[in-house]
Symmetry: C2
Subunit: 368 residues, 2 copies
């Protein structure tokens, strides 16, 4: 155990707002819940398990599943419950000679960054019989489990978060200098390249790590919001959110003349958040050594409701990033500005394109 380093230094991370107060992720994650339910994950997993025939379980009587980027619930519980129920059903149908009355047990791992609020996660954790839960701290672009110990992996709306802000975005001397935006609008080729490169690297690290952790034949389900073919991010609902957040920051710069928030700081700020063009995402999935793409369901759907709840939702998701760059004192004001901005922009939203919600099913290749 020579080179011991603290897990908290491994990569940048922006946890969802902790606790269960009014601005918390726990209270503001309904949109995700609806998206989860809407896509009928359970049926899709059941369907693919049929193809798979549970042969990958071997003689094990424990099924191990992990959620990567779980945050503090409740969506992660619903997602895990869907997987557990799908597996349980198949197990009973396919191998239900429950010798000696024994049945399949589940080890369910909940992963997120070390500064995620695991205390809140654990406090709200449901514990059905035969279901054993554990929390796993750490960035998911790294290995987090021993080899071949997971039977299934899951990640829902977490892979958009890059492990760091892409190179060059805040560097005045870089061709990717992103002075006039805080995200990947899609209008600057160099900025788009920098975001795409970081996303590709993170996705590959994620898939390679999971590829080693999953048993041969194990299924992986991923949800990622993508930018549809023929559009760039700023032409979609999700891109518009970020463009309006920039407008709010600039208004605040003007208001607070000596202020905590300066134009220089705004120019240096970039969201480590990326909604990949669907083709980019597909290419990454097709070229991995460990996993085989079984399915990629994609539907045009605006998962963020454009109504007065939007500022709270966005805040729960992104407050930490703003806090780390500008300081905690700007957060209330930023989302108050955003609420006003939203009120006069409903028609702007209506004219935008819906993002593509993907539900991707991958299978760990056998015997590699």
């Amino acid at each position: 155990m020579a080179s011991v380093e603290s897990i908290s230094n491994v990569s940048m991370s922006y946890p969802m707002t902790s606790g269960d107060g009014p601005h918390s992720y726990y209270k503001n994650s309904n949109f995700q819940k609806r998206a989860l339910e809407a896509a009928k994950q359970k049926e899709a997993i059941e369907d693919k398990l049929e193809v798979n025939n549970l042969e990958f379980l071997g003689k094990s009587e424990t099924f191990c599943v992990a959620d990567f980027g779980c945050s503090v619930g409740p969506n992660t519980f619903i997602a895990m419950q869907n997987i557990v129920e799908a597996v349980q059903l198949k197990y009973e149908q396919q191998c239900h000679q429950q010798k000696n009355g024994s049945s399949l047990e589940f080890q369910v791992f909940f992963n997120d960054h070390v500064n995620n609020d695991f205390n809140t996660l654990f406090t709200n954790l449901p514990v059905p019989p035969g279901f054993f839960a554990a929390g796993v701290p750490g960035g998911f672009t790294n290995r987090l489990f021993p080899k071949a110990c997971l039977h299934s992996a899951h990640s829902s709306y977490a892979l958009h978060w890059l492990s760091k802000v892409p190179e060059g975005l805040a560097d005045v001397n870089s061709p990717a200098y992103n002075k006039d935006s805080i995200h990947c609008t899609g209008f600057s080729e160099e900025v788009a390249k920098a975001y795409a490169a970081q996303f590709k690297k993170d996705m590959e690290n994620f898939l390679n790590a999971r590829g080693q952790e999953l048993v041969g034949g194990g299924l992986m389900a991923l949800r990622i919001a993508a930018t549809p073919e023929g559009f760039v991010s700023s032409q979609t609902y999700l891109g518009l959110n970020n463009d309006l957040l920039l407008d709010c920051l600039m208004e605040m710069v003007k208001e607070l003349k000596q202020g905590i928030i300066t134009q220089v700081k705004v120019e240096a700020f970039n969201l480590p958040l990326y909604f990949p063009p669907i083709k980019e995402l597909e290419a990454i999935l097709h070229n991995n050594a460990y996993v085989e793409r079984l399915d990629c369901l994609a539907r045009h759907q605006n998962i963020w409701p454009v109504d007065p709840s939007l500022p709270s939702l966005l805040r729960a998701f992104t407050a930490e990033v703003f806090k780390q760059h500008f300081g905690e004192e700007i957060v209330d004001s930023l989302f108050e500005h955003f609420a006003k901005k939203l009120a006069v922009n409903y028609e702007t939203y209506a004219a935008k394109e819906e993002p593509l919600n993907t539900f991707i099913i991958l299978k760990r290749k056998m015997n590699i």
Copy 2:
């Protein structure tokens, strides 16, 4: 997944003081650290692994170990590191044909009650290569893992904490009514019986749960402070701590005449903490269906330094119990009283008996 209940309702729990501030367990657990080092756990485990010959590992390339009642570190990290190093050494000696360059990996689980401060635990967690950590919330008298998934289990100075205050202690109509003390002094037979019964039940539940979770041949190491033969708890250093805490509470009752703290409340208070007579402990270890007692090292040793650091240590360990019964506002005052009380009682301590520190090694029986 029919009967879902929140893990937080399963049993009473009294976490060590959270965070890493001056009164925290994290900053006040040196005495344990020294005790851990003193008993040279690593050597003992290595020795017993020799007997065992790692045959229980089977073909697995992952060694799974859990610490039960881990609190927030750093002792749990040291204990787990000792086990990992001992296993690694034996593995290299005994089965070191590392086929394809692969080596043993470790899944290390840290368990404590759901209201333990897992955020602090995770923040300070070391992550050496090949070592994968997870936190497992829940009371350890229940099952916490699937069947036969652990290769080793550990628990250090945690089994003294009972899952609840024994029956009858606060009931004026019970023969075990413990009006004049806050712990098991050993002078009342009925009170001692009530404590002994609860400890036996908790220990049996613990051993039976671990018995199911460990693979056949897996080792379990437990540290428990016991009361030596021929003495009762109040004749030892550990019992004296509790007797002096009662004196402090009664002084506070007199000071705060209308007070937050009343005599009735003190009479109704009992510590769910028990240092079993060594014979009681041995009997429980000898009569379990799942595990076989390999060794029980016991040494007379006062693990709590009787010096000005004692009030902080005691506070880190017991503050939560006092808080839950009397309210947070009494805690500062209680331990200030204790510091004064200690200053005039060094000779009382010197006249007391040292507790027996036991280091118990158990083996999960094969093929049951």
